[in-house]
Symmetry: C2
Subunit: 350 residues, 2 copies
Amino acid sequence: MDRKNYKIKDIAAMAGVSVGTVDRVLHNRGDVSEKSRKKVEQVLEKILYRPNLLVSSIGVKRKITLAIVLPSHQQGEYWEQIEKGIHQALYDFSKIRTETKTFYYDQFDLYSCRTAYSQALEYACDAMIIGPTFREETVFFSRKLDEQGTPYVFIDTLIPSCNQRAFFGPDSRMLGYIEAKLLSDVIGEEKDIAILHAVRSGNESSLQTVVRKAGFFEYFDTVSSKNRFLYANYYSQDVEQSWKEFDRLFSGENDIGGAVLFNSRSYIFASYLEHHGITGVKVIGCGVTQKNIEYLKKGYLSFLLSERPDVQGYQSIKYVLEYILYGQHEQIIKHTPIEILIRENIDSLF
Amino acid sequence: MDRKNYKIKDIAAMAGVSVGTVDRVLHNRGDVSEKSRKKVEQVLEKILYRPNLLVSSIGVKRKITLAIVLPSHQQGEYWEQIEKGIHQALYDFSKIRTETKTFYYDQFDLYSCRTAYSQALEYACDAMIIGPTFREETVFFSRKLDEQGTPYVFIDTLIPSCNQRAFFGPDSRMLGYIEAKLLSDVIGEEKDIAILHAVRSGNESSLQTVVRKAGFFEYFDTVSSKNRFLYANYYSQDVEQSWKEFDRLFSGENDIGGAVLFNSRSYIFASYLEHHGITGVKVIGCGVTQKNIEYLKKGYLSFLLSERPDVQGYQSIKYVLEYILYGQHEQIIKHTPIEILIRENIDSLF
């Protein structure tokens, strides 16, 4: 188990080529003859070489510049954890000199996003990491990045028909499917299920919500339950209006046994349950935010799914550094973990 | 976000002391006056210094020697993942020259464990990592390590009344509690629950199983369900005998709706269900082994709890390296994550 750390000159000697040649192969730059490349690659394979950003016996002299475009956020919210993962990776790989600049936008305001995108476009960088919300706007922006030749990576939400180098985020369809499975398992086949929909003003539903909802109903299509589905809207900024909608759910003949939400605002429904002293409704949502954790611990949420935003942030930085330093040419789509959280295991996970 | 990497000479200059003094404070060795130590510590606090094994701008010249004592294992078994975490940490921290020697024992054979312990005791090392099974034997061994002055760390199972520097493993009581909670939620209040007990020959139950079972019943003490509990033994090496026991469970008036196992051999019960075409029994177990994953995917296990053996292995190496290089004097007990796995999220987690 005692490993040998091969240095670039060891590899050069073993391959019978110059140090410069090994360097060019490893860092994927400059001209190398097919014959020399093969020799080096054979040695790398033999010694099970994999580039290690953490050790990097191959010195990195240059400075890498990254632009990051993200929704702005409050403390304890979902995107804060994405940034935490980003910071952790920059810390772990701080042997590599990296400069980052972050451009924030209001995820409920298309014009704010447009401004952030224009500013990011002006910033000369080696690569860009984007947490997108608005589909059309992002497609348009990505075309400009393609023209510039700036490589970019998406996190959290995959926007189709872009040329991103990589994507790190949960499988949204599967996330909705798991929400359905767990809810169905714990409420049985008779009760009504409330589907709660976040209303955004001025634009369509987020792409992610649409896909999660599809995954949710895909599960119920496979089981022959008698559950009825009831729908209600809610509004991030308008509690009064949301609660009116919830009042309607609990009126009349309805027998609500469970409820599902597809974004990180489950606490809005949970606070309604708490205020009205309603127990016995199993609620499942996603997003391990401070407020959601609070209601999970109080028992007003039964399950939370975590999309591991920290992992998304960490992996995106690791990927772009490897991409820039070592070159990785396949486009990758990496689905990050979907964790199931209940009151009893959440403390062990954070 | 662009961080400065402080070198030891920067810290010395800021504190107005010699490089040697900073080195002694950081590595917790040699004599340093109280006054100088304070000066250095103030600077470290100001620059938010934390020792970073990954970067280590403070060079590590010495070689660190570690002994590791673990149960032997087959491919795809629980302890293989502990070793995977150990290897990953050694790789990530390969800037630090580390030599490890692993001593294996048969976890079902006390004498084999005794032999491994004696051999490890002869091996001169800076620290030891122990995955214990036998309580008395381990207490006895730990006394000898105390006499030698060898620091040691437990993983997986905490043995009470030892002077370990640290423990990395799941909270066993909570693990049993979560098994009960999930099982209870999905089978309802009427069905019978099978409690499956692993028989070990020649020695008492493992300490871990006892604690997990206690956690399991602690949950049922808090709910007023009508579930009946039925007990059966099983034998790792004797399928025929195990299946006889299971036949008894499914005979007569019994109405088995769920089953629980407390170690990583859930597949033994699952294979019985598969062979007899029994569906509709919700089984919960722990240990993300190849065989368990196979039966989770086939639907014969409903839930698996993962004790994250990879995290246990990784953290134990990271801890001992930090302990040896930087000195950390509080004894720590770090409960590793308890993850809830179902067929639908397992692929995203591995």
